[in-house]
């Protein structure tokens, strides 16, 4: 049996309280940690500062300096005027495309994976574990290997270049990790619960919807966090399957920054970058330890 996930406690310190007196060793320790903090936090600082400056100030050539004169114009321009390829309507369209891709993909992928995980833990049948094992090993295959045949399949289904295609692809590639997550969670629930519901006459769907789902809110939250950030940040599937008119924010950001001709507007680029990173960052800062738990649960298997 695999552990469901790393318990939250595993991330909290245990043992004695920190010593009050700062010995040289402790100072060294904090110094190293702070140097690392610089590496991780400076890009965010640079991003925000650059996005609030005007171009003349950027040309002075100090990326770390805070703006002398704060301007929100780059943000407005990035949102509503920046050129993403042929059109110049800003990231706005990309934002809504990403919402339109992310919301249904998260719902569909979780619905499918939670039912699979449920069936795998309570309704085992011959071969169910074999399929699951194939699924888990399949998750290590690079996407590039399956990309073209999936394009062919989507073309045959008549959905290539539309939202349903990209939702289907996210559901497929979210399945291994989500099924694993749900299977392990359901397997940790007492079997008596399942048996009692059976005695009371509940069937496959009845047990799932009335007994298990209400008990499984935490794992649904973890899965939602995992999927929102994962799907929002996706580039490859969006660019291949969604079709030009549905390109998500990541694709449009890349177009703004890397395909525009002429003078590069760094402040606009950074504002666009911030806008694109805002949704996953918000999820991250709001969910805190749940995010950690989600990614660790996905990772610490076996």
């Amino acid at each position: 049996m695999m552990p469901t996930s790393v318990p939250i406690d595993a991330y909290s310190p245990h043992g004695r309280k920190p010593k009050r007196i700062m010995e040289p060793r402790r100072i060294m320790l904090y110094a190293v940690l702070l140097v690392a903090v610089l590496y991780y936090i400076l890009p965010l600082w640079v991003m925000v500062m650059t996005s609030l400056k005007g171009m003349p100030e950027i040309r002075l050539g100090n990326i770390f300096a805070p703006p002398v004169e704060i301007t929100f114009e780059p943000w407005v321009k990035a949102w509503s005027e920046a050129c993403t390829g042929l059109k110049c309507e800003g990231l706005r369209a990309g934002f809504w495309n990403s919402v339109q891709i992310t919301v249904p993909s998260v719902i569909v992928s979780m619905a499918v994976a939670s039912v699979s995980g449920y069936a795998l833990s309570f309704w085992k049948f011959r071969g169910s574990e074999v399929f699951f094992t194939i699924l888990i090993f399949g998750s290590f295959i690079p996407y590039q290997v399956m990309l073209y045949p999936l394009v062919v399949i989507c073309r045959e289904l008549g959905i290539y270049g539309t939202l349903p295609a990209v939702i289907l692809i996210h559901t497929i590639f979210g399945m291994p990790i989500l099924t694993l997550l749900f299977r392990n969670y359901f397997a940790s629930l007492p079997e008596e619960l399942f048996k009692a519901a059976r005695v009371d006459g509940a069937g496959f769907w009845g047990i799932f919807l009335k007994v298990l789902v209400p008990m499984s809110v935490p794992i649904f939250v973890v899965a939602t966090i995992l999927q929102i950030t994962g799907i929002w940040n996706d580039f490859l599937f969006g660019v291949v399957f969604a079709g030009t008119q549905n390109w998500p924010m990541t694709v449009q950001l890349n177009n703004i920054v890397n395909s525009t001709q002429g003078v590069k507007e760094y402040n606009l680029n950074m504002a666009a970058t911030m806008l694109t990173g805002l949704v996953p960052l918000t999820v991250y800062f709001l969910s805190g330890k749940l995010f950690v738990r989600g990614i660790a649960a996905g990772a610490v298997k076996g």
């Binding site: 290590f140 694709v251 990173g277 298997k301």
Partner: protein, 297 residues
């Protein structure tokens, strides 16, 4: 099991089977079927559309005589070795420091991990700006008086790969740190006490006792970091787009470009088959080690 002695086992079974159909289809059609399709069609002369005109190993001969592919593989190996070593070293050192009962642990962890929530496109774009030789970090430090400071990683063929490394490590090491920290926290306090009683220095306890005990977490991190390295694509697109020239090309980009930009599907499929092969070389020994011993997990 659950179905034994039930009045209508076949029907009950059927519901569960129908419910798991999406999973079964994904496993068989996508993961097995599509991979096989890719391997089979890599032996064809497919250009703009897949055709079943078999040409033997032609695509592979072309692949291995292609300078861009050679550069892609070299880059990935170089990037892979350094990314693996550095993310393990940085991840472990940070985790070990975080495990010293420090103050503000949550704050430190939040800062180290937030880049992991960002996409590779965002990561690439930010570092492209920081490493911009004209107005970025180089210009800033020169402006502050360090006239001889030179950091034009992106502009030079020999150094562009380091730019990818710096950005990639920025995005991913926080996650390795979290995994390692979970591993460290899983180790019994008594081990530390015993080592202290025996007078073993701290670093020795880490290297000879604690790290070997973290085998599970190490293998997990290895598999995750390694499969992330093979997939390296978005970051390259956003940071360098493979340039200058093809100095920062990677296999995943070679595949993508041949399939979707150059209408040379057969060539793209041959390259992706090579990617599949390299992943199998990583995953099969790991699967054997992990699941060969304890049957049925």
């Amino acid at each position: 099991m659950a179905q034994a002695g039930r009045p209508n086992p076949l029907f009950r079974n059927l519901t569960a089977k129908i419910a798991t159909l999406p999973m079964i289809v994904t496993a068989l059609v996508v993961f097995v079927g599509c991979s096989v399709w890719t391997v089979v069609y890599s032996f064809t002369a497919s250009r703009a559309l897949p055709v079943s005109k078999f040409v033997g190993l032609d695509q592979y001969e072309r692949l291995f005589s292609n300078a861009r592919w050679e550069q892609s593989v070299t880059n990935l190996l170089f990037y892979g070795v350094f990314a693996l070593v550095f993310s393990f070293v940085i991840g472990f050192v940070l985790a070990a420091l975080m495990d010293q009962k420090i103050r503000f642990e949550d704050t430190f962890r939040t800062i180290y991990l937030y880049p992991f929530a960002l996409s590779f496109i965002v990561t690439g774009v930010v570092w492209q700006w920081i490493l911009d030789p004209g107005l970025g970090l180089q210009a800033t430090l020169r402006g502050l008086g360090w006239e001889t400071f030179s950091l034009n990683l992106i502009g030079s063929k020999d150094t562009v790969i380091y730019a990818l490394l710096i950005a990639g490590l920025w995005q991913g090491t926080g996650f390795v740190m979290v995994l390692m920290l979970a591993g460290l926290r899983g180790i019994d306090e008594d081990i530390w006490k015993a080592a202290r009683v025996d007078g073993i220095p701290k670093w020795k306890t880490y290297v000879f006792i604690v790290i070997p005990m973290m085998r599970g977490v190490m293998i997990t991190s290895l598999v995750i970091v390694a499969s992330g390295i093979v997939r390296l694509y978005d970051l390259v697109v956003a940071l360098t787009d493979g340039g200058p020239g093809f100095a920062s090309e990677v296999p995943a980009k070679y595949v993508f470009d041949h399939m979707f930009a150059r209408a040379n599907i057969g060539q793209g499929l041959a390259a992706s088959t090579m990617m599949l092969l390299s992943v199998l070389i990583i995953v099969i020994p790991w699967a054997y080690l992990e699941f060969g011993r304890k049957k049925g997990r």
